[in-house]
Subunit: 257 residues, 2 copies
DNA sequence: GAACGCAATAGTGTCGACACTTTCTTGACG
DNA sequence: CGTCAAGAAAGTGTCGACACTATTGCGTTC
């Protein structure tokens, strides 16, 4: 009964970003995407210890691919490993999230400047087209699509910077904050400010106005952050529902250990 | 004869940077540092396929910890994984190296600005002290020490930015370009320009002159890059000694695959 | 003599088992 | 009653084995 020839073709392309090194098809890869999804959706709760045996049973594979996936996730900052004690879900406190957004802002505004210096006109035009193609129906899409389109927009800027390392970095950061972006998109506070921001950014790109575009991006991200604050609180409260937010502090402390 | 209770306490602290999640003591960790060292020293050559069995034999452990280490190294960009074909040493072409330095420059100058905004006076003073404590004997140290001190200096700035994600990023980049920095330090072109740069940066920090300090850092890194170009060529020629640089192009192409 | 295909070989991907470490339980002692 | 220790249980870290995939080398056919 250990045969693993299951027919479930549940590859979930919505999580298949990561401009990185790895193809799919093996069960280690499946484990990786599945676990990451669990993390991103708070099915595995911040601070929690991850039980390899249990996970391997529920995914129907042995512990080996599970551990390989967890190792990757550790390198990427999703989980942490304490020797002989196992993997722990790294809690993304509000604070840690701000750090991540800050880093993202740094990278993206730098990417924009580089793009202005280096990209061909035709490439800039690709950015414009990308945005114009989605702007119309933007608000009517389901959250996952909006999220993907939004990430795609920012990632395209990174690509046009001509620096693949930069792209990889941004992709990795995106993966880690994706859950909160989704929450934010679903939250009532999400509105068309996003759209005008993006349009302004495209405009600056066409003009190759590096400074202004970088500033717009910074502001755009900062705006998103503050809009996200409340959404995050709501989400965390929902996760640690029963008792009040009291044990939030405890988990925050556990993070540095 | 599979007992693994070897007494060799060869932990090699010079490679033990990585402000990350992991403690040591298990053989997976040893495998990680050892393999990374092999990569960094070109013992495993760019483009080469990594034979797990062979590696596991030469390290005296089974393939499991080897594979865990390789997975980590893949996340960090040292190697790449092609399913059913194995891990390959990711070739660091000149171009790729420039990308990495560029990213480093972006992160460091941003870190400097943040430090200026946020750090306590006492923290800035720590930076000043750190540099003053090493500046005198700086040039007389062995390369590894110089390297560590240099990395420490830049890493300290990142820490004073107050953003741990930024620190982690920089640490990871450092690990990847460390080999070339060492080569550059040993190269005749390395001289005291480094020292005056650092001193100027400290000075800007004390004055909290964010713009100027960031500019100095950018220039400092750019200078290092150009000084490094020749050193890199020399090193690569040494590695691919017999034939001329012809197959360099081939490897470059193999990189994107 | 070259191209093709097939067999043998080498190598990765995953498994189940076991040693060792941490955590939990229970019961003796103060 | 609370504290502590010893043993049991749970869990991680590593191993060797095996299935399956890619590669290599050889023989066959045209």
């Amino acid at each position: 009964m250990t045969e693993r020839a299951e027919t479930s073709a549940d590859s979930d392309p919505s999580l298949a970003n990561e401009a990185e090194t790895r193809r799919s098809a093996d069960s280690s890869e499946r484990a990786y995407t599945t676990i990451r999804k669990l993390l991103v959706e708070f099915k595995l709760k911040p601070g929690e210890r991850i039980n390899e045996v249990q996970l391997s049973r529920s995914l129907g594979v042995s512990r080996t691919p599970i551990r390989e996936a967890l190792n990757r996730l550790a390198s990427e900052g999703f989980v942490s490993l304490t020797p002989n004690r196992g993997f722990f879900v790294r809690s993304l406190s509000t604070e840690g999230l701000l750090d991540l957004y800050e880093l993202r802002s740094i990278i993206e505004s730098a990417a924009f400047k580089l793009m202005c210096e280096r990209a061909e006109d035709s490439e800039i035009d690709r950015l414009r087209q990308y945005w114009e193609a989605i702007v119309d129906g933007y608000r009517d899409q389901p959250p996952d699509i909006i999220l993907a389109e939004d990430e795609g927009f920012h990632l395209l800027i990174a690509e046009l910077s001509g620096n693949p390392e930069l792209v990889g970095q941004l992709a990795s950061i995106n993966a880690r904050i994706r859950f909160i972006r989704r929450i934010q998109i679903e939250h009532p506070s999400h509105d068309k400010a996003q759209i005008t921001s993006h349009s302004a950014i495209v405009e600056a790109a066409v003009k190759r106005d590096a400074e202004n575009g970088a500033k717009l991006l910074r502001e755009h991200i900062e705006m998103t952050v503050s809009a996200t604050q409340q959404a995050l609180k709501d989400a965390l409260l929902k996760v640690f529902a029963p008792d009040n937010g009291a044990d939030l502090k405890r988990r925050r402390r556990a993070r540095d250990a």
